[in-house]
Amino acid sequence: MSPLDILIREQKRVHAGNLRLAIVSAIGVAVASTALLGLSGWFIVASAVAGAAGVAAAQAFNVLLPSATIRLLAIVRTAARYGERLTGHAAALRALAAIRPALFASLAAAPPAEALALSRGEASARLVQDVDAVETRFVRLSAPWNAAAGLACALVLAALAGWAPALAIAVFAGAALLAARALARRYSAPARTEVQARVGALKDTAAALVAASAELRAYGLAGWAGETLNAKAAALDAARLDAARAQALVQASQAAILGAAVAAAIACAAPAGAPLAALAGLAAGMGIEALAGLALAFDQDGAADAAHARLNEILRHAPRAAGSASPPARLTVLGVTLERGQRLAVLGPSGCGKTTVIETLLGLRGQASPAPRSAFAWLPQDAALIAGSVRDNLRLAAPKATDDQLWAVLEDACLAERVRAAPEGLDAWLGDDGERLSGGERRRLALARAYLRDAPWLLLDEPTEGLDPTTEAQVVERLRRRLDRTGQGLLLVSHRPAPATICATRITLGAPPEAAPNPVRAPKMQAATAD
């Protein structure tokens, strides 16, 4: 049993009440629909026969029971349909609300190399489209019951006219299901898979071309870029057309089989008389129509199977319990052993593996880290922020921090003045990845976030990149004072000389040749000076 199946089963158990109600309602819908039309047909024909037989026969004909039943069925069908849709969707939505965070937790628990390799486009495909494909598993949970009840009701009604019409309906129902399944496998599944692949390809191309607008403009390539994009999009459009045709083909097969079933049921029921033949014919129609939900599910299954496989890939990783290992007293980096409170600067050209050193310490690189993550407070090289307010971003480091603490770290990162100037202050919304901030402001906010975390070691990756020399000097000075106060250790990585001045120990890593396929190489110690 796959992890997704386990998750889905658990959600099914949690929402069993609603799902059962949905199934019961679905059965009610199918029975009421089939009976409504079948009974109406019978009623009219029987009335006609009685009416034709003369006034006495017409008077003797019990009109009250069938006409009352017909109206009752109309009401039952409405109520049941409402119940089915509401309870089914409610269960599905609540289940998805549990499944999406579970996916995120698994993603966070996956080996970092795997989780971090997921591009934005892929992540969106998993968390949005793939999970939507799971939704159908809940919403359509009642489809087989609806189909079975509709079919069973049709068979019972048809059996009133003899075994032959019932058998005919059963045969055509089987044919309808087999046809839908075969057509969906042959046409829908490949078309839908193709659509997903094409969407991904178009997204990648669109992002690359839009990012290169300046180049495209300068070299008169706007037309070429448009053609390139339109060609990729045309491939997607073609796949969508195929998928739509495949779905229509499934539906067309059902319509044709429905007609055949109605004709066959009437023909087989003819010996039983017109009223029962009408009953059998209309019951056959409704019985086959009840299978529509299942046919639709077959059509969508191709995509759902692929989505399930991909989600299972992620869900393999069970979230771990929070680590309780205590931070080590000393840290060995690139052969240098640091006691608590000591400061090391790793200098060197870009591409020589400085960032790799830090990411390895944090266990973001596959190899096991010598220390638990709780030992470190990190400023990443890209100064990544989350979409949210200043407060949201800082609180990532310390969920219970007070506003005073937030202002204090902003002060240390030379950003308090800027935040205070905004009317919303700490609640100022920063947009995606801090897009409303300049590069330097983003970096200082990420620095403040690192300061807020109560960890024995600070890992700062290019803390002053993008800052003007004055701000840089100020940031470095406040960092020095802060470290003196907190007694935190520091591992600093930079290609700028200014921040390294506050570190007692400096290492310079050698530059790799330009075309090295893998920039991560064994560090070459050039100097380790202590003053």
Partner: protein, 543 residues
Amino acid sequence: MGAVTAQLNSEHEAKAWLTRTARLGGPAARRAGLWVLMDGAAAIGFAAGLAFGVDAIAERKGPGALAVWLGLVLAASALRGGLSLLAASAGAQAARETKQAARSDLVAALFTGPRRPVGAAATALVEGIEALDGFFARFLPARLAAAALPLLLIAVAAVASPISAAILLGAMIPFIAAMALAGTLAAAESRAQFRALERLSGLFLDRVRALPVVLAFEAERTTTAALSRAARDLAERTIRVLRAAFLSSAALEFFAALSVALVAVYCGFNLLRLLPFPVPEQLDLKRAFFVLALAPEVYAPMRRLAAAYHDRQAAQAAAASLSTFVPPAPKAADAPLAGAPTIVFEGVTARYPDTDAPAVDGFTLTARAGTITALVGASGAGKSTLLNLLLDLAPLTGGRILADGRPCTDLSREVAWAGQSPLILPASIADNIALSRPDASRAEIAAAARAVGLTLDRPGGLDFVLDERGGGLSGGERRRLSLARALLKPAPILLLDEPTANLDAAAEAELLSAIREAAKGRTTLVATHSEAVAALADQVVRL
């Protein structure tokens, strides 16, 4: 109040945009409508076959007559199957044509208009356009069917039984009222719902993007908990919206079922001649059964329309953002420059739409012909905007830009450009360089590569094929490739956007000579925060 008005305006604009876009579709849209309408004719055939078939049994007309009418049932349903295939196909075709037209406009706006954030542009191009699919493929044909078919079918029913037709018509009134009510009730709430859903997916994607930070700060649990809360909130809100939506569709269903039941009961009593009131018509089995079989078909198109309602919702939400991309009016091309020009910025202000502050405010500069000017400053100071202004990628909202004393709007034909992350195509290095001048000879390409120090010691040299992600080139080599491109285009202006960002000092130093080479004989503007690059310049401007 202002916000509400703005929202209403943007909704109005989105609808107008959708209507305009719908006109871009080709003949497929009309074909889809035709097939859908013909389905009504097939439904009539089906009902007639049923009615006459049952009548043939009742009147004992023999197996021959029965076979004929059941043959009609078979043929009509096969026809309906075929028509639904044609209609779906034509609908998808219409959606494809409309999407292609809308996409072409969008692409034109993106690549010839002012610069847009990459994320917003890519989302508009893919998700935005795809959200239109259901609207054109399903909603519009369904709307046509709902407008035309019910009345058509009622008219046909009136031929068999005017009173049954009157019952069907009478039930339409509450049916349409329920549908309109459903529309207005659910629409506002579900729009809000739609936006909330978008925000939630955005939230998940954002946290996935920031996963390294979440991991490093051990915030997995708090983040997951926050995501759970947001997801649960949204689920409950969605369920409330659905309750209203389903209630209205239940109303539709109810009136549909009720009218079938009323027709059945009326026909039955009429046939029994037991009606408590006088009626001008006396039905026979054929007519009664025909009307009964037709009754569900009268309401089916409207129920299909209600089911396609969310397609319209999705399209309108997408249209709200798509309608903000407007292709710029074609501008008269500036007269070509004779040689490296003197470029003057006079009190230049550039403010992007939807931003609080101008990116550049009252900027003045004279870059003399053939010199290098360095624009130095932290990111966000507006360096790139100044370069973008010369390419018409940024909006010039104040002041003027003069080239050799003439005001100019778009110098892109006169510009060679190199930046920090050049466009890399899955093609050979030579083809990648020649992007700036496709007619360049092999010797010219090789010369440009040599001039910027792009050493090609890999198999195939210039013919080495790069992959989609530009794999096989180091960061420094990409910049060189970009400079080689700039060198290949004989343009009198050279713009360099952070040509050495994220390079170490050694790699930067090696690149400087290539920059000097590329700048020869041109008026060069370079945006940088590197002092080493600034040292190359004849003039340094700090922003």
